[in-house]
Subunit: 147 residues, 2 copies
Amino acid sequence: MSRPSEFLPTLQALVQCYQAFETFSAADIRGLGLTPPQFDIVATLGNTAGMTATELGEKTLITKGTLTGVVDRLVGRGLVERTAHGSDRRCQIIRLTPSGEALFARVFPSHMAYMAECFADSGAADHERWQGALRALEQIFRKKEKA
Amino acid sequence: MSRPSEFLPTLQALVQCYQAFETFSAADIRGLGLTPPQFDIVATLGNTAGMTATELGEKTLITKGTLTGVVDRLVGRGLVERTAHGSDRRCQIIRLTPSGEALFARVFPSHMAYMAECFADSGAADHERWQGALRALEQIFRKKEKA
DNA sequence: TAAATTTAGTTCGTGTTAGAACTAAGTGTG
DNA sequence: CACACTTAGTTCTAACACGAACTAAATTTA
């Protein structure tokens, strides 16, 4: 067993890091006229032929109940559309409209460039260190949730 | 300048790690009858003589507009109270009521024990690695937001 | 095949979230 | 002192978050 004085600083560092990212990223996304979940969806659907709501939810980490509302708003703005799935009438294929494709082509590169500035001085070794640490920490939580 | 193929995996790892933590932690907190922000507030106020709303917001990373509502609900349940600040009439001191203290004494150790199970096999070196990586990554976002 | 179970999405209730506009109170400068 | 400015908290709006309950359509089981 571990003591809080050992692991609490790790959890605080995780939350503070995530918040810093979210705040920084969202400021740019809002300036592009989207909310962060909306951007995630548009970015995920870009350069694809569409996908089911379940698949979209898995990729964006948005739960299905929330996804309905976010997609509703994007449909209302004419950026995505729901089309029938060929063989399974429970499913829908969600995909970008031409207007949504145009938005994707504009905002995705813009936001990538914005984020790239952060990492101008970071090398491959930095990324390996971050990804290695983050994936190990993620497993810490996932291994317990199975039990 | 950096390429998305380099830094996107880092960002995805961060988001997935954070989500895994949040989901795992929240499941326990909800079982204790609190929401995650409510738990944060009770945990922050525990073993203190109270603090101003601004200070509480800084520690819990809850913005002031949100804090009003969360504190309202805790006041409604009789767990915290707002008292006048001695010298500055704009401020309030928010602190736990006796009932809130009792709740803190029950749920805080319980949740710590729940989280400690995750880190049963982690040593000091693991925590140093995680904290070092997370703090460095956090600075990546903070150094740009100043500019 | 009929019943039981699973899966896909929607709806609903409660709570959180950020930012912006607002009020009240303190601080600074002339 | 009077004015501009800052700070503390609340209110407001739009959107998101999650779980639970629900409908409809598939799939499994007997």
